[in-house]
Symmetry: D2
Subunit: 295 residues, 4 copies
């Protein structure tokens, strides 16, 4: 059985590791928060006291961390991952980080004889719990094939975006587009309602016309139109505004570095930043409707 | 057989009337351009020399005109439609115009004993030719039921958006959202390509992720990704930038009148206006990618 | 003594007419609100019961109305101004309206043998009371010279912007720029304060650097930086947000009609519209700072 | 006589050091480009072969570098400035960099017993040559007083913005506002001209009205309105678009870190980025008019 190390046991990492357990793997797990390690140990995982203990025997190392600096520190920091993992191990970073950082870390890893892919996910906490995440992978096709059986335990769809870093770039492009169409959908629904349309009827029309998009299919931002979505639960749960702000920040950084124009992306970034500033940071990102709506 | 008058024989009106002919109706047709009248007469339509001649015996009058002022003039002008049509006739305006104008005209028509619905379409010239337009209808449900057999000859989907004017409002909301997601999709694809992603692979990922939308399904703006779309034919054909500029102008007018916020809509309006200014007015609206792309 | 008719006695028109009285003129005054007519009659003006009575003997007619439709109705409506004024009279419209309407009205007036200029003002109610308004004039230079002695009683500066309608265009350009730099100044001050700068010190630096503009000189939007401005009086008084929304609407209309790009203008229009929507319509326009500020 | 070290001899640093020479100082100069060192040595400066040689005897060290990473490397890099300068020396960084980097470097410097201020400049190459720069200073008031006689040789105005880093923050706020009002002025002038106004007459009106700002006073972006400005010389010289892009990037970074809203700033950043992308990076920043103008 493949020996897996799993590092980073937050809201996403914990259910992902739990799905590995359910599939019969016995991952060695580590996080800087001891409580999360204990929790998974009770479910059968092998607890590790630090990074070196976690990775030293692993065939595959999976990491799931909050941001670029944490990934950089984990892989390249003094006495960290690359110093202790076995040569030839396959490293899979599932964090959403800057493409430039992903490339920097992977270049170092490849240079030291590891295999590495970036494999950021979409699907949120719900998708992680149900094991239906989407993985967007950058890196060597052979490495992806080695990773596939393990990724398939945690997710449903796996896309190969291109070389190292391409997973991050594609994830960022997707989330920028998502922010734009969520905001646009909120504007369109609000405009209709302000002119006496019924939001349910209008949503149905848009969904079946050229305005159709993912948010109208499964994540309608207007309260009461769709059951079981954050908009119908006071925007609790879901994908936090502050996480969208982080991803849009990465998109703007990437756009600036590559001199790419992103007019709607830049305005969406500013709108989400303002929405967080107004106190909505810990609510679902479909709450951007409240920034549009008449008070 | 229901007697139909059809007024306005432009790029949209001509194939719509032709489909009525194919279905066995014999519409009386009129346009200020005599040539278009003759063309349809050759196919079996009854030519009329003016509005009053066209409408005087009609059970149903259909109009398809370029803009608000033309509709207002046709229905309310001296010696025009409302003065000559038979009391009780059903009036169907398929033009895309300001909701306020649609309400003004219909209120007058209803007051004079007519039935009236606004029924703007989506689907473009191609949809008109194939008889697969989508009708977005505002007005009384009974009037819509009377119109349904005739609309079904020219289109495939019929939505009831609400009271008089609601068809126009919903159409405008849809097209504003369409402009936003077309531009957002162009930004996302361009950002990916500028960072070494393959546009085909990225399109596939976005389409199957939360960035999915109508443009990625059937109208990809990146040249070469999809066959048979304007982007793969130098942006010829399709839905003209200048028509999108017109619809976005109506959206902004409606937003201002109802004090509705539309931050991305306002910026999209400005971007499409600028794109037209730069000489792209007669190209397909997916060419907004060229306004984003590095030169 | 030149016989003057003054039509439109709102917040601006009343003090303007009062300044004519102080200068020794005896204007015939009219408004649809009888109370305002009586008020000026008590100060010595000649009250008129309707438009025709007001204008029939006038050498010069001054109008000061809220919006395009009022001006159009006053001048071109049935039995209105152009039908009753003396041929050869000089017509001065001080309202801020669409340039297209100004041209339409003036063309009709000139065609009927009148002289006409558009002379919108800046300086607000305070400037009207003190007689220090700025007039931005469109029309024939000779007509402006005839108007100058009278305008000088109500204002301090008189600019000749060009032909008929040019006064309106220049006013609109100015107010669009004003909205942009007021918002930009609010953003810069807010950004500095959020990073521990003192707003007084920062205002002083900006005022004396390349960021310097009119708002920093006399109308600082940050509470407490400057005495006697709306920002230091809870944004009471001054130039209302709703009036700025109206002027920005005219700017967008003009930009669309002339296919001119106005990216920052379009966003400023949307921001002010949203600010009004959020309940700030009756406050001073420098309160846009509150739309920027962290809550 | 105070012993001065001057590090960074680019387009700005060279004339600044030359003015020190003219005032009778004999600075020790260093740059990684040997040619620039030789050039100043011919004018009387003392050439240094490396940083440690340049700073070891200096009472005052002045640095003028392109960006944050260069400043960080110079001060904190292995065997660099802080390791070789004399304890108690006054360090003056005139580079425009991220406020966060300025604070990080100064905190380290103060901790090691140096005095330090950040003193970014405005006024461009022309101002550097003529010795009329504006210094915007962050840091201790006593340190500023020690620096004042030396700064006065290179500049005309000196502002104290606040504590360490405040000079950078104020500079960034100013340049963001400058970009906004330059773009807004370009939009207003272009809108007027597209509606038949004369740009000279309109500039005069705006300058004397509430639209008045620094660009209209001394840096009009419309070709031919003002003599001796880049707009009248094909946008050659002046302040490069690419430098404005850099400063706007710093502004966005600072806004994101402090969760400050900057809607017009974000759009101006995107517009200048797009303008650079379109090939205008090496032209003056007033050329943003060409991004607005009809082709």
């Amino acid at each position: 059985m493949t020996k897996i190390a799993f590092i980073g046991l937050g809201n996403m990492g914990t259910p992902m590791a739990a799905n590995l357990l359910k599939a019969g793997y016995q991952p060695v797990v580590y996080d800087i928060v001891p409580h999360t390690v204990e929790q998974l140990a009770e479910q059968g995982a092998i607890p590790a006291a630090n990074v070196s203990e976690a990775v030293r025997d692993a065939d595959v190392v999976i990491s799931m961390l909050p941001a670029s600096q944490h990934v950089k520190e984990l892989y390249l920091g003094d006495g960290q991952l690359l110093a202790h993992a076995r040569k030839g191990a396959l490293l899979i970073d599932c964090s959403t980080i800057a493409p430039a950082t992903a490339k920097e870390v992977a270049t170092e890893a490849l240079g030291r004889g590891f295999e590495m892919i970036d494999a950021p996910v979409s699907g949120g906490v719900g998708g992680a719990v149900k094991g239906v995440l989407t993985f967007i992978v950058g890196g060597n096709a052979d490495s992806l094939e080695k990773a596939r059986p393990i990724l398939s335990v945690m997710g449903q769809k796996i896309f190969h975006a291109g070389e190292i870093g391409a997973g991050q770039t594609a994830k960022i492009c997707n989330n920028m587009l998502l922010a734009i169409q969520m905001t646009g959908t909120a504007e369109a629904l609000n405009l209709g309602v302000a002119n006496q349309l019924d939001p349910v009827a209008l949503s149905e029309i848009l969904k079946n016309s050229s305005g159709g998009n993912w948010t109208l299919n499964v994540y309608n931002p207007y309260p009461g139109v769709m059951e079981g979505v954050p908009a119908s639960n006071e925007y609790e749960g879901g994908f936090l505004v502050d996480l969208m702000v982080k991803d849009l920040g990465l998109a703007m950084e990437t756009a600036q570095a590559s001199e790419s124009r992103t007019p709607l992306g830049a305005l969406a970034e500013e709108l989400y930043r303002g929405h967080s500033t107004a106190g909505w940071g810990r609510k679902d990102f479909s709450s951007i409707l409240k920034a549009i709506e008449k008070e």
